[in-house]
């Protein structure tokens, strides 16, 4: 019974400490706002995913062409649009990076 009481009490204390830990670590946090993506960041994320998709598609196409699943004709018809798509998303991401870089000094 004593062991049970000790283990039960230890469990309760450990749980309370663990749950309260974020407040014990930062009793008066200056910024208690939960991170969330802004509209611009969401668009950047969508672009990054789009870029990766286009690059992966290009890789797949190359590999399917090499293994004979895609004919030369189909390869030529598909590779151009995919390269353009990849390049466009990469350019769009770079533009956003540049915009960000130019905005940061002006804030300071």
């Amino acid at each position: 019974m004593t062991v049970a009481l000790i283990v039960g009490a230890a469990l309760a204390v450990a749980c309370v400490i663990l749950v309260a830990l974020p407040f014990l670590r930062e009793p008066s946090a200056q910024n208690d706002r939960l991170d969330a993506l802004s509209g611009a960041e969401q668009r950047r994320l969508a672009l990054a995913e789009e870029r990766d998709r286009a690059l992966a598609s290009l890789k797949e196409l190359e590999f399917d062409h090499r293994t004979g699943k895609v004919s030369d004709e189909d390869y030529r018809a598909q590779v151009g649009p995919l390269r353009r798509q990849a390049a466009e998303t990469m350019r769009a991401l770079e533009r956003r990076e540049e915009d960000k870089r130019t905005k940061v000094p002006s804030r300071g």
Binding site: L34, D35, Q42, E49, D52, D64, D74
Partner: protein, 663 residues
């Protein structure tokens, strides 16, 4: 000690309520510390449920019959191993295992995805907490394993069919599968609730989904083997409602694993993936409901219980809630691209999805029809094997064929010329194999010949994929052939691990077709000295032997087996066990494996008669061992697909850290 168990369960319940309510509040109000506190509550619930599990295990190990659960499911003579596995041998223990595994998964998912998916994790935690709260509530208020009583001198013992080494591994595997499906579901709902429908929820749960799916698959195969060696009817799958209950979420999860690749690669099927992940999860809860409620007659149903209504209510809440949420977020789930051609890799994935879901829903209808019939018309009816076999053939055979077609077709679109080139060898191999099978007399089963021909087609296409891929890698200058092969697999583990899993499914199909369509069955009453002939073997019954074990009496018929030439090849001992405490009799089959042709000689002592005779049932099951070999290949393929890929991890880290660094 029962007080400690109860206190631990109440603590877990309160922590999970906190994770749900405070987590949802924090996510809505965007309170960072409060959200972190809710995540910690989920982790703390793991500790509390682990303490409760430890209390129950200790009570089992000590034969503490003041715990009603221990008295109901064990006895003093029960070997220690089975005494401990009785943890999940009954309803309350199974629920506790559910809660423990769920909290374990939840804590691990929280700890591993904090960086990639902070914002959607805030909404994922309340969903995980909500599911956990339900199970903790059941354990605290409805079906507690810590109910005490005046301790009887001995317990009732464990059901004899559960006294098998598979008891140690089959239920935990299934639970790891069932419960694991909560993680992709919670992240998907978290993504919808937080309106973050980008691919992070897929990236965060990719490995969890694959692991849960693999556990569920392995769990079912282990269950099939258990039934094969223990239940004593000569089969491995009986379309029992509870067997179906594990198959349905596995099929839905298989569909999800395929369709989610289309979302990753093409940005398509975003709504469909949400539906599939919800369907797989709801079916896993439905499976638990079937097993635990006792509403359906099954060898797995332990008793009528008060759980049914609660589970049904929970399933209704889940179905209504997820449907409403998906409908509310439809505008966010619009596809970014369209299917370019009906002859493309993504189209074959789509066909495969439709067939898998159709098969899953057909099985669901077969399971719930008797319930509805009883409820609406007051008539008890059953849906039997021919119904399931019919739909297995209708949906399963095209699925098998698609496993061979899919890898050969290119993404986006494929021209007829390219198709002709890549299909030539697999088609040729399939046609030749079909002709040989017909010439060998396999035409006695049309379904068998079709299944084998399709299987050869799939194996040839998988082999070709590996050969062509290795050749292409070698052409890129990857040194030796083995180097090119390992580089091929290492660079795309999910794809090539998936092909290995496909090969496992083919072996499974060959084993199932062989052992069901071409099996030989003979039954005969034999007196000592009598013999019978089955599939060219002569079996002579010599008499009975008896052996007393601590908790049962083993009665065995002694059967000598001779080959065609009259040479003695084996002595086999089918029989019965009479369990003292449980007052039950179990069938103990005798199996002789032939590793050369993968067949089994399977002996069942159907009746042990008082006049000294035995009613012997003999089955010759060709290729049945390929089913168990398929299990090993399945594990291998799953491990390849699950193995961490450092290159992929770096790419994803770069994608998300670059974008989310300032979030």
């Amino acid at each position: 000690m029962p007080d400690l168990g109860r206190a631990a369960l109440v603590t877990a319940f309160l922590l999970l309520v906190y994770a749900t309510a405070v987590g949802a509040f924090a996510a809505r109000q965007r309170r960072r510390r409060l959200a972190a506190s809710a995540q910690n509550a989920l982790i703390a619930a793991l500790g509390a449920s682990a303490v409760a599990a430890a209390v129950l295990l200790a009570a089992l190990a000590r034969h503490d019959f003041s715990f009603q659960y221990v008295a109901d499911h064990t006895s003093r003579e029960l070997p220690l191993g089975y005494t401990l596995t009785a943890f999940w041998g009954g309803q309350e223990g199974s629920l506790l295992l559910w809660l423990l595994v769920l909290c374990g998964y939840g804590a691990a998912a929280v700890l591993t995805t904090r960086r990639v998916a902070r914002d959607l994790l805030a909404w994922t935690v309340p969903v995980l907490g909500f599911v956990g709260t339900f199970f903790a509530f059941m354990l605290v208020f409805v079906s507690s394993p810590f109910v005490t009583q005046h301790a009887p001198a001995d317990g009732a013992g464990l059901t004899p069919s559960l006294q098998n080494p598979y008891m140690a591994i089959h239920p935990p595997m299934l639970y790891l599968g069932y419960v694991g499906l909560t993680i992709p579901f919670a992240f998907a709902m978290g993504a919808l609730l937080s309106r973050r429908t980008d691919e992070r929820w897929i990236v965060a749960t990719r490995r969890w989904t694959l692991a849960a799916w693999a556990f569920l698959g392995v769990g079912q195969l282990l269950g099939a083997h258990w039934a094969y060696v223990e239940i004593g009817w000569g089969g491995y799958y009986a379309w029992d409602p509870v067997e179906n209950a594990a198959l349905m979420p596995w099929l839905a999860a298989t569909a999800f694993l395929h369709s989610v690749m289309i979302q990753e690669k093409r940005g398509m099927l975003r709504v469909w993936n949400m539906v599939l992940v919800a369907l797989a999860f709801c079916l896993s809860i439905f499976g638990t409901f079937l097993t635990r409620s006792g509403v359906i007659q099954s060898i797995h149903s332990f008793a009528k219980s008060p759980l049914g209504a609660w589970f049904l209510g929970f399933i209704c809440v889940l179905v209504v809630g997820t449907t409403a949420l998906i409908l509310a977020r439809l505008p966010l789930l619009r596809a970014r691209t369209k299917l370019e051609s009906l002859v493309s890799r993504e189209a074959t994935f789509l066909y495969n999805n439709l067939l898998l879901v159709a098969l899953s829903l057909t099985i669901l209808w077969g399971v719930i029809y008797p319930l509805l019939s009883d409820l609406v018309r007051g008539e008890s009816s059953t849906v039997s094997k021919p119904y399931y076999n019919f739909f297995l053939h209708v949906f399963g055979l095209p699925l098998l064929l698609l496993m061979g077609i899919g890898p050969l077709v290119a993404w986006r679109r494929a021209s007829l010329r390219a198709l002709g080139r890549v299909f030539l060898w697999p088609l040729g191999a399939a046609v030749v194999a079909g002709a040989i099978l017909l010439a060998l007399g396999a035409g006695s089963s049309r379904i068998g010949v079709i299944a084998y021909t399709f299987s050869i087609f799939v194996l040839a296409s998988i082999l070709l994929e590996f050969v062509r891929g290795t050749r292409a890698r070698k052409a890129l200058g990857t040194g030796t052939w083995p180097g090119a092969f390992s580089s091929l697999v290492a660079r795309n583990r999910r794809r090539y691990g998936g092909y290995v899993v496909h090969a496992a499914i083919v072996f499974l199909a060959i084993g199932v077709a062989g052992s069901s369509a071409y099996q030989t069955v003979r039954e005969q009453r034999l007196f000592p000295g009598d013999s019978m002939t089955v599939a060219g073997k002569q079996l002579a019954f010599r008499g009975f032997e008896q052996r007393r074990a601590p908790n049962h009496l083993a009665i065995r018929a002694v059967v000598d087996v001779y080959d065609k030439g009259g040479h003695h090849v084996a002595r086999m001992y089918p029989g019965k066990n009479e369990y003292f405490a449980e007052q039950q009799v179990s069938n103990e089959v005798a199996i002789r494996h032939n590793l050369l042709d993968a067949s089994d000689l399977f002996l069942i002592a159907d009746q042990v008669n008082a006049n000294g005779s035995v009613d012997l049932k003999v089955l010759q099951k060709p290729l049945v061992n390929l089913i168990w070999l398929a299990g090993l290949i399945f594990v291998g393929g799953s491990l390849i697909a699950l193995w961490p890929d450092a290159r992929e991890e770096r790419r994803l880290a770069e994608r998300y850290e670059g974008v989310l660094a300032e979030a």
